[in-house]
């Protein structure tokens, strides 16, 4: 029997001698990871939702009444040159009236044909990286310095609320992630500690015969790797199955990319190796 065969046999002994412990560990880790996966999907989906809403966020810049129409192209050019502004669209008084009619459903300005009271404005399309409270405020400050601008409007409160919600989701995810990783680590360490304690006598004898720490540790490290990696992968398989079975009319579930999932499973497998080492550390002293 080669060393590798011996190590693999030890690994299989660990698993089939304590199937309940191994299965319990696998299931508890899988459900922990599934919880995290679900949160990941929910966070990704809500992020996509917010991003889509944010992309529709514009800034309206109203032009002072006394400004002559002839100077508008120069103002449009100057506003378009402000950092963060993607494009500028001019809204004339008649166009503003059309928009209002479209929104309300009737023309509220019948009889005001010669004295349209609606202001002229520019609709600014903002670069995605500036669609933040800080970015938008910076653009607002820059444009409001101009004397030919009477007012600037954008959904400031909604943006603040959206940012606060996204930050909450992100922070909660981070805390949940740390908590789940810690729970997974403790659970896996205890499982490996239990199965290694059951074989302490054999361990001691192997060491007396000259077995090295690495030789003794490897089966437990592989066990940790397998349980960590497979339970993480099983969690994602359940998510994929659920995604195929459940469809939402209003939005689509955003699942991480295959590369992200593989990195996640790999990280959990590494976590398993660490838990394997921590589980038998005392026995190796």
């Amino acid at each position: 029997m080669s060393r590798i065969t011996h190590i693999l046999k030890e690994l299989s002994r660990n698993l089939y001698r304590n199937p309940g412990t191994a299965l319990g560990s696998f299931l508890s880790l899988m459900f922990l990871f599934l919880l995290f996966d679900l949160y990941w999907v929910a966070a990704g989906t809500s992020e996509e939702f917010y991003t889509r809403l944010l992309s529709q966020l514009n800034m309206e810049v109203f032009i002072s009444e006394e400004v002559a129409d002839s100077t508008l192209p120069a103002i449009e050019e100057a506003i378009g040159a402000v950092e963060g502004v993607n494009s500028v669209e001019y809204i004339s008084r008649p166009k503003a009236r059309e928009e209002l009619s479209r929104l309300v459903g009737i023309d509220l300005l019948v009889g005001y044909d010669s004295t349209n009271p609606l202001p002229r404005s520019f609709i600014l399309n903002i670069s995605p990286e500036y669609l933040t409270t800080v970015g938008m405020a910076g653009i607002e400050t820059e444009i409001s310095k101009r004397p030919d601008i009477s007012d600037i409007f954008y959904s400031k409160q909604w943006l603040e609320k959206a940012e606060s919600t996204r930050a909450t989701i992100r922070n909660f995810g981070l805390a949940l992630g740390v908590l789940i990783l810690l729970t997974a680590l403790i659970s896996s360490v205890n499982n490996i500690r239990l199965s290694s304690r059951a074989r302490a006598v054999g361990f001691h004898q192997m060491r007396l015969l000259g077995a090295g720490r690495f030789f003794l540790a490897v089966p437990f490290l592989i066990e940790g790797l397998l349980i960590g990696g497979i339970s993480a992968a099983a969690g994602w398989l359940l998510i994929y199955y659920a995604k195929q079975e459940i469809t939402f009319a209003q939005f689509e579930l955003i699942v991480p990319t295959l590369e992200e999932i593989l990195i996640f499973c790999g990280t959990m497998a590494m976590l398993g190796i660490i838990s394997g080492y921590l589980g038998i550390r005392k026995l190796l002293r």
Partner: protein
Amino acid sequence: MAQNVVVELNNVYLKSDRGGQVFRDLSFKLEAGGTAVITGAAGSGKTSLAELVIGLQLAQSGSVEVMGETIRPVKAKIIKRNRRKIGGVGGIFDLMPSLTVAENITFPLVLSGERRKVQRERLLKMLTEFSLLKQAGEYPRSLTRVENTLVQLARASVAHQPLILIDEPLAGLDRKTYQRIFEYLISVSLSGRSMIILSSDTLPQQLPNADYYQIVDGALV
């Protein structure tokens, strides 16, 4: 230490975990191919001597050299290497409960990385020599005490370990097994391998090439 010396203890002082003095200025030398029979009352320190040799305990002062290497706590690799050259039977040595008899016997060969063919050949030889063919696939829990001792002896010989350390080899054996194990001890003694026998009682028969010692008040006389 000379090349032909397998174990050498010089002026060793050792305290037990409880603080009592186990060895006081103990010195001992075993040359290659030699046999040392060390007797002593229960608690006199026979097992502690075995533990010193395999590096399980470290002397408070004095030196312990095994196979030309000084046993020190920082030299874990040396301790590990030396342990592979020692075949241990009885006392602190036991079988590994999760391995079968065959796996227990070949374990030293697995550690030394012997080829499978060699492992099979040596295993067959040991199983035949110690009449353990029927028990090859069994686990230690189903063995009798005598069979357990025989498996340990087979394991201690399978890798041609240059030093065999036997703790209480003949205690509680029936006459037939006693004679058989004693014959084995004689064959080892004549084989050119070194052997340390630790026993509470003096051996009723003389072993060839053997030096006899007794542990009295923490020293060898």
